[in-house]
Amino acid sequence: MRGDEGDGRGQVWRSRRYRWDLRWSPYAFVAPFFLFFAAFGLFPLLYTGWAALHQVELTDPDSMTWVGLRNFTRLWDDEFFWNALRNTVTIGLLSTVPQLAIALGLAHLLNYKLRGSAFFRVAVLTPYATSVAAATLVFVLLFGRDYGMVNWALSTVGFDAVDWQNGTFASQLAVSTIVIWRWTGYNALIYLAAMQAVPGELYESAALDGASRLQQFIHVTVPSLRPTIFFTCVVSTIGATQLFGEPLLFNGGAGATGGSDHQFQTLGLYLYEQGWVNLHLGRASAIAWAMFLILLVIAGAARLLRGREASR
């Protein structure tokens, strides 16, 4: 019993405050997210579209000249844009497909009853804690043409040295390796989590039917994991379209060109080059919108694909 219970005005005030609290607190709790998002997410998002229709230079971002769609038409005729788009697709495929395939196999192994399973899980996730910058700098050395460890290892088994920084395919493969190294363990853990949710009876009945371990993996594990695989494909695709740090730093001194001959310049890197090296913020905005449209197209295609699969 509280002392002021009998005080009528206090009670009115309290119940009013109670209703007010009940009604508005939820909004107060979600407000910080939306305020920050409005300021640093939504406003920039819309403004990029606006800036893409202007000529804006980094040196004087406040003066904008209306140019209509010219930034976009220039992009259409820009061979470096198409080159970057091609590279993004190639490196994306080279990194995403092996990465997810290896992760799936790795998760399968981690799903066995293991001694030291915690150790293995932490160990394969360690690259995730390594920054793009640190990882890329190490791989630049490992992939060195003359004294790098990869070429040394190749030479011991009788192969010629590969010019990992200048060859087109070789450099794209090397950049993809960095991505694969950093993200395979992460994806393996996501698959592992999904595998542990697969009911054991499915395996038991498959085993009764005489399915080998490999057959169980193909006919029980993979189908049960389909939503998770779809999820990781989407996330990795988004990551691949944004690839930036690896190609920027894989390139000795040349900076944002993505190799001496733009051989591994991605869209993300091209955007950075246009905006912060060539100082054309308007054109950079147009590239950003082009990237977004490409993502939307991929998302639409994935949806169609998924819809067809579901209706099967």
Partner: protein
């Protein structure tokens, strides 16, 4: 759950994977302990040399690593703390409170996860340039202080881990929403808050795209931006570059060594529910 015992082959493959995961890190340390001349010879070194101290010192002064590390610690802890508090508040509201527009707002949160960061980098830069924030730490802290993933993660956790009766009981006792958050929600959310804090800390520590746009190397960069300076050849010495990479990675590896199991658990938990 399945309890197939692993055979020798499984262990062999896993050990191979582990070696592949750890080798580049270990080799960073080996290269950092050698001299530049030794790195320009074949075969490459496989074991530690005696130059670690000297290389660390050069990296420390040339790339201004001390200041960069301090800046990164400030950025990563502030972002982690902000993300955890704001995500828990919003996650609690979405999981346990009834209010108009709740579904719509939640789908907005999820929708924001799909927006690529490139799409806002130009105006964001113009914004911080106008505020004269370039080279200031708030330029990298404020835009990443909230996270849609965090809100989603905390909502999923609290929907399960926090019994609605507990919230109702506190209300009947006359507790205000803020008191409920402090005395009921935060204690219940503590394990998930810890996981989210670590995940966010790792992400903020390693963030690259936005910091390199917003911070130059002359100002107060984070470790990742400072490392770029080393890599671009202001210091052409490879062993020093590796020493810098080691300095930028070591603190996180220590965090990982101590909290690795929880981080693994957090990723797996987020995956199942996500």
């Amino acid at each position: 759950m399945r309890s197939l015992r692993a055979g020798r082959l499984t262990y062999a493959v896993l050990v191979l994977f582990t070696a592949g995961s750890l080798f580049p890190l270990m080799w960073t340390a080996i290269a950092a302990s050698r001299s530049n001349t030794r790195l320009a010879q074949t075969p490459p070194p496989f074991w530690f040399g005696g130059n670690l101290g000297r290389n660390l010192q050069v990296a420390w002064t040339d790339a201004n690593m001390g200041a960069a590390l301090l800046n990164t610690v400030i950025v990563a802890s502030t972002v982690a703390a902000g993300t955890v508090v704001f995500s828990t508040l919003a996650g609690f509201a979405f999981a346990k409170l009834r209010f108009r527009g709740r579904r719509l707002l939640m789908s907005l949160v999820v929708g924001t996860m799909l927006i690529p960061p490139q799409l806002s980098v130009v105006p964001l830069y113009m914004l911080i340039a106008r505020l004269s924030w370039t080279d200031r730490l708030q330029a990298v802290i404020l835009p990443t202080l909230v996270s849609a993933f965090g809100v989603f993660f905390m909502r999923q956790y609290l929907a399960q881990a926090l019994p609605s009766e507990l919230v109702e009981a506190a209300r009947t006792d006359g507790a205000s929403s803020l008191r409920i958050v402090w005395h009921v929600v935060f204690p219940a959310a503590r394990p998930a808050m810890a996981v989210l804090a670590m995940l966010t800390f790792v992400m903020a520590w390693n963030d690259f795209f936005w910091p390199i746009v917003a911070l130059t190397q002359n100002g107060s960069p984070t470790v990742q931006v400072a490392l770029t300076g080393l890599g671009r050849g202001y210091v052409p010495d490879q062993s020093v570059i590796m020493a810098g990479a080691l300095l930028g990675t070591l603190p996180l590896l220590l965090v990982f060594l101590v909290f690795g199991r929880q981080i693994v658990g957090g990723i797996m938990q987020g995956a199942v529910k996500g």
